[in-house]
Subunit: 243 residues, 2 copies
């Protein structure tokens, strides 16, 4: 009998980018699981290494250490520890997703591709306001993913303010004032976009104060649902119906 | 040069008992760390397996499967993955701590012993109201740890209400009404105790509404500080000063 007939799904989380986003993903996995007792929840193995070399320093400044070797080491470590598939709650780090995926024998859920599919279903060929790190813009991570679907990327007027907010979250401020700043940045697109995309897991911690218009998609939420769809077949059916 | 001069501390967390308590420990580690950027945080490897056989069913009912083999497997898995010390955010599971500690080559921080030392420092030879699972009472986990220090355990009048509250948290209710129920159970000891001990990590999620009197100790908070003291020497000094 093949191993998969016996093996329970175990999600391996490549974490620490930042640590809060990793914890937020774990908390959302719990909150979105209809559970009556511990055993209903998902089996998770996490390596949260906050000392993974900065993706931003490497991709934007071009001076920082390449994080690929450490990301690959963690992915292999999680596979060896028993993970049957991997997820990485950091949009910027998906610039390294091909290298990570090639280094392991288990699938890596690609948050950027999953999020692109969600956006496409919501606003086909739409114009999408992208709130993300400068490294995501510079590597054109979403621009490349969007292109085959005819989706367009709109950049915020004040990218420096976006980076300042990301750094603020990394210093531990996820309070109402920080959330209001995210809402202000969202509003700054005016009527020029069809949809807003929150594509930085630090900013995902601040979505609680976002208005419903324009409609928005949070990449971390898309990843959460994709993990549950794979790990909990029943929940997966529910999520698929709702999509 | 000794290994410790090179090796960065990596805490391995034996988690999933329940999953919320594991996430809460990780969130507290982040919140208690004075961080200016990701890299200031602690390197953590977590295996959160919510399907570890029930400690309560094994210890109280005497019918359930023995969780020892799975706890030992996880501890060894974390050691192999690179953990330099281990922690287990579940009071009840500390009944198996000797078996786990004997199976690995890295230290397991013992939450029960650490908490006993904290209580002893706060109320020497005091009478301590113990809010914990029935399994903790039945195995006399804290009674045995307290005895050499002359500390006494006081049990709540309504242990069934304590267990109902623990199950309520495991179903996902950590709201104000659940927290008010913890405060009611705390008050039910009246003036008969010198200190209250929250010794169930589900109940640790509800301490936000506890009054300051009687003074209380939360075992999960003690474990959080002990992990930081070991993983971040600077913070450790601060914590030690404050104790």
């Amino acid at each position: 009998m093949p191993e998969s007939a016996h093996a329970q799904p175990v999600v391996g989380i490549i974490g620490g980018m930042g640590p809060e986003a990793t914890v937020q993903l774990m908390a959302r996995l719990i909150a979105r699981t209809p559970a009556r007792d511990d055993a209903d929840h998902v089996h998770v193995i996490v390596e949260s290494n906050p000392k993974i070399p900065s993706r931003i320093a490497h991709l934007v400044d071009g001076t920082g250490e390449d994080p690929t070797p450490e990301l690959v080491r963690i992915a292999r470590n999680l596979e060896r520890a028993g993970a049957t598939f991997l997820a990485m709650p950091c949009n910027t780090a998906h610039g390294y997703a091909p290298a990570i995926g090639a280094a392991v024998g288990v699938p890596l859920l690609n948050m950027v591709e999953l999020t692109t599919a969600r956006v496409q279903a919501l606003v086909p060929r739409g114009r999408v306001g992208l709130l993300a790190s400068t490294a995501v813009h510079k590597t054109a991570l979403y621009r490349h993913a969007f292109a085959p679907h005819g989706l367009q990327v709109a950049l915020p007027e004040d990218q420096a303010a976006v980076m300042a907010l990301i750094q603020r979250v990394k210093r531990g401020d996820t309070g109402p004032a920080a959330a209001a700043e995210l809402a202000r940045l969202a509003a700054s697109f005016g009527g020029t976009i069809d949809c807003l995309l929150i594509a930085c897991t630090e900013l995902s911690l601040l979505t609680f104060a976002l208005p419903q218009q324009p409609p928005w998609v949070d990449a971390l939420e898309v990843l959460t649902e994709a993990i549950l769809a794979r790990a909990l077949p029943t929940v997966g059916a529910v999520v698929a119906d709702a999509t």
